[in-house]
């Protein structure tokens, strides 16, 4: 599905936040990318979306090279993005925010489908309310559904649990796992919150200094043997 090889990327010309970063995600898989702050996780997602210039290596989605494409072109190839800090449109209503997830997809009808309001019932209740007036957790749910209405093949989530009450984090985890299972959605989750990761991910990648340092697909084993978590996540 997603194949990343030897990617070099950084914010200024010459800076190498990612220096030969390689990884892959298989179709339908939920992969967690973990690591301390400043290790390049968010930079990687931004490079993937086309917000940060890629100066070397290759990024391919279903066999097509997407490195160097503009963000809207990446999105239209089926990548949904839920950025850190959610970035909902605070002055738009819940419904308008969801509509924004459709307006950039000429192949989809410009009307929010009913199922979008069923994913998280709170969005149905608040559909005419301004996005900015909702709690952090509700905004996160809105940002996730906004990405889902664009019918992505690959969903990128950047720290979805940050600053959100635990019960909503749990709900988000359940819902996304269900959608991934039922609809074959592929999810790449960047996180520091182990609860969400252990509840969702099928494979964990630990990142350090712009590269993958450790990888495991025995996610539940991390509960009993948290050594990699201590090694790569504790400050």
């Amino acid at each position: 599905m997603l194949k990343v090889s030897e990617v070099v990327a950084g914010y200024q010309a010459g800076s190498r936040v990612l220096d030969g970063f390689s990884m892959h995600v298989r179709p339908g898989e939920i992969v967690a990318l973990l690591g301390r702050n400043g290790m390049g996780k968010t930079t990687f997602l931004k490079a993937l979306m086309g917000h940060v210039a890629v100066s070397g290596g290759s990024l391919s989605l279903d066999g097509e090279e997407i490195g160097g494409l503009k963000p809207y072109e990446v999105a239209r190839r089926g990548v949904g993005y839920v950025p850190q800090g959610r970035e909902i449109f605070p002055d738009f209503t819940v419904e308008e925010n969801l509509l924004m997830g459709l307006l950039g997809r000429p192949e989809l009808p410009s009307e929010v489908p009913d199922w979008a309001f069923e994913i998280f019932p709170i969005l149905h209740e608040r559909r005419k309310q301004r996005g900015g007036s909702m709690s952090g957790g509700q905004q996160q749910q809105l940002a996730i559904v906004r990405a889902l209405v664009g019918r992505p093949k690959l969903l990128l989530l950047d720290e979805p649990s940050e600053g959100i009450q635990p019960n909503i984090v749990q709900e988000i985890g359940h819902v996304l796992s269900r959608i991934a299972r039922d609809e074959g959605l592929t999810v790449l989750l960047v996180e520091q919150n182990m609860e969400l990761v252990l509840g969702m991910a099928q494979r964990c990648l630990f990142m350090e200094n712009g590269a993958i340092a450790y990888e495991t697909d025995e996610v539940q084993k991390l509960r009993t043997d948290p050594a990699p978590i201590h090694r790569y996540l504790s400050v």
Binding site: K70, M100, G104
Partner: protein, 284 residues
């Protein structure tokens, strides 16, 4: 009584004209955050398209189509060459667009000369309305201003296209991540603002002195109206032009033009001092 009706019509006429001229600015300045010092010259080009249409022996009404199309093209070219490099550099937009304004004005002088042009009034017969005799072309201007304003507000605040445009302006990176081609939207939004200024110029030309300096006359009250009313809500501009327009018309009819200008500036200063974001703002 007739005086009051006449004054009322004049106030409405001036306010609606001001609204028409302000619309392009609402988009370019209010929504896109570009202080467009060349907006008066866009208006000027619109007025001169009437002169050009007249020289080609075409009816005046053709200019109402020619002007917005010509200005949209001018807007597209300027956006591509200059404006796109200064988005988010608020202060630099002043310098860049001021430069554009000088170039456009000089081009007009080269093309049409520095003197004032006469435009034939396409609707010379006055009409009787509410017991007063009123120039019919002014009524046409009022109708055109109202129609174009409603259409513009509908596009920006009621249509999906308007939502997308406002989304791009609010959060460019996020809008792009959702699949919106932000460059294309910037380009066309700017062109649309320029086209509105051109249309306003063509509509107003028959009742103004069409000369290379005419752009400034409406530009200052238009900027003031937007700042007084606020740009975050559609009624802000309507309120702004209403206040500025009525103050200006009423005081100039009771006293002098100079007194009216002083009053308008005082009003604007007080309002902007007390409500820096304009009278109508969204609750945060």
């Amino acid at each position: 009584m007739n005086f009051a009706i006449g004054l009322g019509l004049d106030t409405l006429s001036f306010s609606l004209s001001l609204l028409l001229v302000s619309l392009g600015l609402v988009i370019i300045f209010g929504l896109m955050n570009v202080i467009n010092m060349a907006h008066g010259e866009f208006f000027l080009l619109g007025a001169y398209s009437v002169v050009a249409v007249q020289q080609l022996q075409l009816p005046y009404w053709a200019a109402l189509i020619v002007a917005p199309i010509a200005l949209a093209l001018v807007g597209l070219v300027l956006e591509q060459l200059i404006i796109r490099h200064v988005y988010h550099r608020f202060i630099d937009t002043i310098l860049a667009t001021w430069g554009i304004s000088i170039v456009l004005k000089q081009l007009i002088i080269i093309g049409f000369g520095p003197t004032s042009q006469s435009i034939v009034n396409p609707l010379p017969e006055p009409v009787h309305i509410l017991g007063v005799v009123y120039p019919s072309f002014r009524l046409f201007i009022m109708g055109a201003a109202l129609a174009v304003s409603i259409a513009t507000f509908w596009v920006f605040y009621r249509s999906n296209l308007g939502l997308a445009i406002r989304g791009v302006i609010a959060n460019r990176a996020m809008a792009a991540s959702l699949g919106l081609n932000t460059r294309r939207m910037d380009r066309w939004t700017f062109a649309f603002g320029a086209a509105l200024a051109g249309f306003a110029g063509a509509v107003m030309a028959p009742i103004m002195s069409v000369d290379p300096q005419m752009g400034g006359g409406f530009l200052i009250p238009a900027f003031l109206s937007i700042m007084v009313g606020g740009v975050s809500h559609l009624f802000g501009v309507v309120l702004g032009v209403g206040l500025i327009g009525s103050t200006s018309t009423v005081i100039s009819s009771l006293d002098t033009q100079l007194a009216a200008q002083i009053a308008v500036f005082l009003l604007a200063i007080v309002i902007i001092r007390l409500w820096p974001e304009g009278l109508i703002t969204r609750k945060r």
